[in-house]
Symmetry: C2
Subunit: 332 residues, 2 copies
């Protein structure tokens, strides 16, 4: 059951049909170089008549530099990454760039393999999440000569371009906020931090900030696997079973926090008087719950947009800090 491509119309056939040279057709189609209005019309007519679709594979091979942008992202389940893609894709489409992607599942080894596979397409840029990569990945990317964009994490040395914000700062501000609100018996519910290094950074900064104010994290519950509402709910349940007298819980992100929030609703635990909840990401859904979730809103779509703009503009290496916004909400 082999699939065969139908014979395709080529630029040469269009040239023939229009009675002009190949290079002329190429110029007209790319609107590059000079040609008369008359020629243009004849070419476009032939294109229309034959139903010609330019072959970008051939075009890319012949020219220097492609218009592909490769995304190597950890996950598609975590809305963070679709959000980034969304921002980037809008900008890229406007500029006739094409996005290609693959998903690492938070596995650095897989990231390396997928990045290698991506480089085979000779993209204009490779966009990766965070700034922790294997040595092999870094070496390969450096050697490729294509632009590298690291997204969503500014706590580290950028290879080329970095766009995002500081996760450490986010952890710090979260802790500072909870302390300011008077909470002292604070717990943590998180997901697999070895894989999600950005959540790990937030957590360690969070703890350091508590320390700096002579407060210790009272208890923590780390769940295996990815973040999810279900895991958040389960995590808080377990945490409270072990340590009942907490007054606030910091979650690894909003998904987890919403799970915790639902647990409290279900169990009749008063929020925030009996227990405060704080998340991370500022998902829209957290603004529509009966009590708006206290969290940190991150510029995910903007991260994608800016990253794409810098690539389109071929900007010099730089780190762009888009910051984040603490939302007081009503759960803390």
């Amino acid at each position: 059951m082999e699939f065969k491509h139908q014979p395709t119309v080529t630029l040469a056939e269009v040239a023939e049909a229009a009675g002009v040279g190949e290079s002329t057709v190429s110029r007209v189609l790319r609107n590059h170089g000079s040609f008369s209005g008359k020629t243009r019309e004849r070419v476009m007519a032939a294109v229309e008549r034959l139903g010609y679709v330019p072959n970008r594979i051939a075009g890319t091979l012949a020219s220097t530099g492609s218009r592909l942008v490769a995304f190597v992202i950890p996950s598609l389940s975590n809305i963070v990454f679709p959000d980034v893609l969304r921002g980037a894709s809008a900008v890229l489409e406007e500029n006739r760039y094409q996005a290609v992607f693959s998903v690492t599942d938070y596995d650095p080894g897989k990231e390396e393999a997928l990045a290698a596979a991506m480089l085979a397409w000779r993209p204009a840029a490779v966009m990766l999440a965070g700034c922790e990569h294997t040595e092999g990945t870094v070496k390969m990317l450096r050697a490729s000569g294509c632009r590298i964009v690291e997204l969503l994490d500014l706590d580290g040395d950028a290879l080329d371009i970095a766009v995002g914000f500081s996760n450490r700062a986010a952890g710090r501000e979260s802790a500072a906020f909870l302390l300011k609100q008077g909470y002292r018996r604070i717990g943590y519910v998180g997901h697999d931090l070895n894989r999600d290094t950005r959540a790990g950074k937030r957590f360690s900064s969070f703890c350091e900030t508590l320390d700096a104010h002579d407060t210790q994290l009272v208890a923590r519950e780390i769940l295996a696997g990815a973040s999810s509402v279900e895991n958040g709910r389960l995590g808080l349940e377990r945490l409270l079973a072990r340590t009942a007298d907490l007054d606030a819980v910091y979650f690894s992100n909003d998904d987890m926090a919403l799970g915790g929030y639902f647990h409290c609703l279900a169990e009749g635990i008063a929020i925030p008087s009996k227990l405060a909840i704080f998340g991370y990401n500022g998902l829209d859904i957290g603004r529509a719950t009966p009590q708006p979730l206290s969290t940190i809103r991150t510029p995910r779509v903007a991260t994608g947009q800016i990253a794409a703009q810098l690539i389109v503009a071929n900007a010099p290496p730089q780190a762009v800090d888009l910051g984040f916004e603490l939302i007081e909400g009503a759960t803390a």
Copy 2:
């Protein structure tokens, strides 16, 4: 600030370094055709030493048929599509295919333009949402000779391959369920149905089924813009302001339904005794709310997986019905 590609290692250089012919290197690298173990080692050593990364652009151009799969999806905000991509991407990666995508924003005109742009990459397949497309899109896709996969909607004629389920059946079963539960004063809260034709189909089948049981939809509230939790909340609030004596509300999807659910929680409206809520999609979050959401679970990830498998296997044209599952939950 023009960016220049660094000189890249080519297959010819590897051949030279390994002291073999170009075609031999090509055979070894693709593990295709015959070559001795000794040759293999020498080639691999040269590849390693020079840090050679094959150029898939050139490879694709030279060979027939590419390993690109193009996704033209309506949105990345609606988790449905990232879910489909997730399922597909896992299968494609295993088979050394590469996914490329673009986002139409539910705009058929944009779909046509983006599909055209995609075809320029000569993909092995184009995957689209639903089975409603402009005439131009259909004509172009047909002429391209590449495989076409229509996802998530089986209520229509498939161009080539279709994978998903019937949205009409989903609407029908939703109505039947609510009727069976004894609800008679039923309302609807939805988002822009002209753009999201699948939601439109569910809604019209829902109404038809009510009709068939001598029940009329009592009230409806359609919000402009995309579906969101916020809009669901707002929609239900408006609906109830106009029509207070409803006993159940059908939402265009789970995002909207969750918004409605939150509204009830906030307003102290007892669920389901005072008001029942029914959604669509079966999002994980709906299973973690204090009361599990009554909804229909759709096989989104599986849709992506199966679609990708069919393409990888070059399966003949067919429609694959993956069905869906009605989750009784506790809100209806």
